[in-house]
């Protein structure tokens, strides 16, 4: 299916007219890009080398399932378009011309051109509100952005977004940037069970917990995305944060036709991956890949133990509450007055301790466990870009092979059929250009990945340090409270006579 059929006509100012069209249509409230995604996908369109557009899509989280730590970013479905990685012109921001972002312009150059803004932005996700009833209900979250950066229209913006909006944003960013080697932070997981409970209107602690968990995850997601210097400038991100109305991202619906197609493609891709073996000339990459493999394993193990801890702490909290009640009953039936009072006090202490355990379990979860889960998914992204690089290499090799074949064929033609010679020569020139572009892309992606990993490691170090300190502080608080409670109890116990 030719998607860009909708976008035609392309003229020599191909870019601009598309831009205009998009802007128009956006004003009408319909995003060209999202509109196109509602139709099943594999697509590429290659016309001529200069205007070739290829669309690559990342696969979204598996349509049907719940929390899995496998990042969809690993599987980037690439079209077989001849050219690389230039995304459709329409996706390019009106501010930055095409080649600055996506071709062999060096990163350093780009950074010098950046506005010398200090990174100063804070994004909050709050006030989840249920909108609508029954199975069509959804949760709307308030997104507040505060910043002094000139990139934004105003220093403060507040919008309401729903979960599928976030997924839509992620989809666009992933499509645009993953295949060039940028680490696009993964969006929070879909959860059919969780959402159904909320829709059905169950107002119990587990659905409240689910909403809170999701709210926190969405906040972390936005902050992480905004921290990325390249992603921050993306027009879709800016739109997401600033515009009050956002067209609904349709392709994120679970079990949609698009979803199913994606799953099929994902499977096919997995088979493909296994057969690509790259001769790595750069040990840096090999090393890094191994390290990330190890890190992944360890983080998963840690996450598992943490989950168990959270579970047991919650259990402890429940059992402490039960014991408190029992102790109170015992105090009631005790006929020695002072002892009776002491036992009641004990019951009270245990009740407070129960709350402490509950809070501590919360900290265990929201601080540590969620951080680990985020990083496990991020590592999925990392693996994805590594894979992407391998794919590009593969493409390059294919092109080289083809070029060689054509050259050999040309030599033969030269002897036999001179009229086909011109065609052959044209083809060869085309291929040579393709090979050159392929080499440039490979270099570019390698460079980008290096920069991204450097940034990633820095961020990882900061994140972990920060969270560990916060967690220890929560532990400190728990102990301080414990001391307070038992100190209050001791004189009561001593007063028994």
């Amino acid at each position: 299916v030719c998607v860009w059929g909708q976008a035609e006509p392309l003229n020599s100012n191909g870019q601009n007219s598309l831009l205009e069209e998009e802007e128009e249509e956006e004003e009408e409230g319909e995003d060209l890009f999202t509109g196109s995604l509602s139709v099943p996908l594999v697509l590429s369109l290659s016309r001529s080398l200069s205007l070739s557009l290829s669309l690559s899509l990342s696969l979204f989280p598996s349509a049907t399932e719940e929390v899995s730590l496998d990042s969809p970013e690993r599987d980037v479905l690439l079209s077989d378009g001849p050219s690389p990685v230039t995304p459709p012109a329409s996706l390019i921001s009106p501010h930055l011309p095409h080649n600055h972002l996506y071709t062999h312009c060096s990163f350093d150059e780009m950074e010098e051109e950046d506005t010398p803004d200090l990174f100063d932005i804070s994004i909050l996700v709050s006030d989840p509100e249920k909108v609508g009833e029954g199975m069509n209900a959804y949760m709307a979250y308030k997104v507040t952005t505060q910043t002094s950066m000139s990139l934004f229209k105003s220093p403060q913006a507040t919008v309401r977004r729903r979960f599928s909006d976030f997924l839509g944003l992620h989809g666009k960013l992933a499509t645009r940037y993953l295949h060039v080697g940028y680490l696009v932070p993964p969006a929070p997981e879909k959860s059919i069970v969780g959402m159904t409970k909320v829709k059905v209107g169950k107002d119990d602690s587990s659905s409240n917990e689910f909403v809170e968990k999701r709210r926190a995850a969405l906040e972390r997601y936005l902050m992480r995305t905004a921290k990325h210097p390249v992603l921050l400038k993306d027009p879709d991100l800016l739109t997401f944060l600033e515009c009050s109305e956002l067209p609904r991202a349709l392709s994120t619906q679970a079990l949609s036709g698009a979803g199913i197609l994606r799953m099929v493609n994902k499977a096919a891709d997995a088979v493909n991956k296994m057969t690509i073996k790259m001769t790595e000339s750069d040990t840096w990459f090999e090393e890094k890949q191994q390290k990330f493999e190890n890190l992944d394993i360890q983080l998963r193990k840690l996450h598992c133990s943490l989950d168990s801890l959270v579970c047991h702490r919650k259990e402890l909290s429940v059992n402490t509450a039960l014991f408190a009640k029992s102790a109170a009953m015992l105090g009631n039936s005790e006929d020695h007055t002072a002892l009776s009072r002491a036992l009641s006090q004990l019951a009270e202490v245990e009740e407070k301790v129960e709350q402490l355990h509950q809070d501590q379990a919360g900290a265990d979860f929201y601080l540590l466990a969620e951080l680990l889960a985020d990083y496990i998914r991020l590592i999925g992204s990392v693996k994805g870009v590594f894979d992407q690089r391998v794919r590009l290499w593969q493409r390059l090799q294919d092109s080289l092979l083809l070029l060689q074949k054509k050259r050999d064929a040309e030599a033969k033609l030269h002897a036999n059929k001179p009229e086909k010679l011109q065609q052959a020569r044209d083809d060869i020139r085309e291929l040579e250009g393709k090979v050159q572009q392929g080499e440039r892309d490979f270099e570019q992606i390698s460079k980008t990945i290096r920069k991204e990993l450097f940034r990633f490691e820095k961020e990882r170090v900061t994140d972990f340090k920060e969270v560990i300190i916060k967690y220890l502080e929560s532990l400190v608080q728990t102990q301080q409270q414990l001391i307070k409670y038992w100190e209050a109890f001791l004189p009561e116990a001593k007063a028994i006579s």
Partner: protein, 411 residues
């Protein structure tokens, strides 16, 4: 593996038994130790299936051959002694100190076995850590069973009447095997039926309203109290078990962090290693907290569960005697009206009356003592519980703050 474990940890003789409190380890009972008769368990050895307690006696009483002596006893012999008290009619008016529970290392043994099987699947450090933990747990259970057996003996030794019991003296002094065999199947069956009859009878007897306010009150009180102590004991056990589970998780997290720290080449590896170390210590503290809660709270409740049952048994015996007395009265009246077998009925009635009054008198004193003991025991344990919780929390806090200081200083 089991036997090496035992040899390693437990041959320390008296050392391992004395921990924080030396001297009569009367955990749940605050007894005045009497110079005329002091009993304690100075040593214990755990073999395959049984535990051998060394019962040590110091006495100035003339009926003992020496002033200080020791014998080796096993659990069954304690039970024999207890049962002989229960079956003795003369002691019907006393609260018989509850028998110590059977030493139960099954759970620990199972865990140890599982550990042995799973040796291949974990790292060497993890294995040694878990082994140490299990050994500590085993030791704790061991100490507890010793304490329970000792408390039983001390209670008997402190009781003005029971301390003079002949069987008790034989138990303390006779340095050969008492040849007390465990009950065989037939006897166990008899026991079972006796219990059934007793509880049915108990219900009957309990239904009889007592003229004496004191006893009526005690009856209602004990019934309710016993049930609530049972409930509290169950819940406290569950709570402590959850606590232990959480401590185990912290152990695993500590190991994971250690691996992460050694693998990581960035700045954050220091953090991981430090926190791993911290969690290692945290786990030890949390395990101690759980163990102390177990000792001061759970054991206290369990003990008073058994004691309140013994008190209920006393009330039952008194109730039974009352019913017998009332029946004897009725029989006497009937005999007098018919003027037949009057003398017989009179003696019968007098016996019952005497028995009933004797029991009532001692029962009153026993129940008052029970309350005193109970209040004292709870006070002691609750105070110690609070002090230990505070001690651990403060230690924990200090650990955390010093770790935080180091980590914050780094960033």
């Amino acid at each position: 593996m089991f036997s090496t474990l035992l040899q390693e940890g437990l041959d320390d003789g008296p050392d391992f038994l004395s921990e924080e409190d030396r001297g009569p380890r009367a955990v749940n009972v605050d007894l005045q130790t009497d110079a005329t008769l002091q009993v304690d368990i100075s040593d214990a050895l755990s073999e395959r299936d049984k535990v051998k307690f060394t019962v040590h006696t110091k006495s100035t009483l003339p009926n003992f051959k020496q002033n200080e002596f020791s014998v080796v006893r096993q659990h069954e012999e304690f039970i024999w002694l207890h049962d002989s008290f229960v079956e003795n009619e003369d002691y019907a008016g006393y609260i018989i100190p509850p028998a110590p529970p059977r030493p139960d290392f099954d759970a620990s043994r199972e865990k140890l076995q599982k550990l042995g099987e799973g040796e291949g699947s974990m790292t060497k450090e993890e294995f040694t850590k878990m082994k140490q933990e299990l050994e500590a747990e085993y030791l704790a259970i061991f100490k507890k069973t010793v304490a329970m057996h000792e408390v039983f003996l001390c209670r008997v030794a402190a009781h003005p009447v029971l301390k003079k019991d002949l069987n008790f003296h034989v138990f303390l002094e006779y340095n050969q095997d008492l040849s007390v065999r465990g009950k065989n199947k037939k006897e166990k069956l008899e026991d079972f039926f006796k219990n059934v009859v007793k509880s049915a009878d108990g219900v009957l007897v309990a239904g009889v309203k007592d003229v004496d306010d004191f006893f009526e009150h005690e009856k209602t009180f004990l019934l309710e109290y016993h049930n609530r102590v049972k409930d509290a004991s169950l819940k406290s056990d569950k709570m402590i078990r959850s606590h232990k589970n959480a401590a185990d998780d912290i152990n695993r997290i500590s190991s994971s962090l250690y691996t992460l720290g050694t693998q990581d080449s960035t700045d954050v590896c220091k953090f991981f290693l430090k926190v791993s170390e911290l969690l290692e210590k945290t786990r030890k503290i949390e395990a101690r907290v759980a163990a102390d809660e177990d000792l001061k709270l759970a054991d206290l409740l369990k003990y008073y569960l058994r004691e309140s049952q013994a008190a209920k048994d006393l009330l039952y015996r008194r109730g039974r005697a009352l019913v017998d007395y009332e029946n004897a009265n009725k029989a006497l009246d009937k005999a007098r009206s018919k003027n037949k077998d009057v003398l017989q009925a009179e003696t019968g009635q007098q016996l019952c009356c005497h028995k009933f009054e004797k029991i009532s008198e001692s029962a009153k004193q026993e129940l008052v003592d029970f309350k005193t003991r109970r209040v004292a025991a709870f006070r002691k344990n609750l105070v110690e519980l609070a002090e230990l919780e505070l001690k651990h929390a403060k230690g924990h806090l200090q650990l955390l703050q010093s770790c935080l200081g180091i980590l914050k200083g780094d960033t």
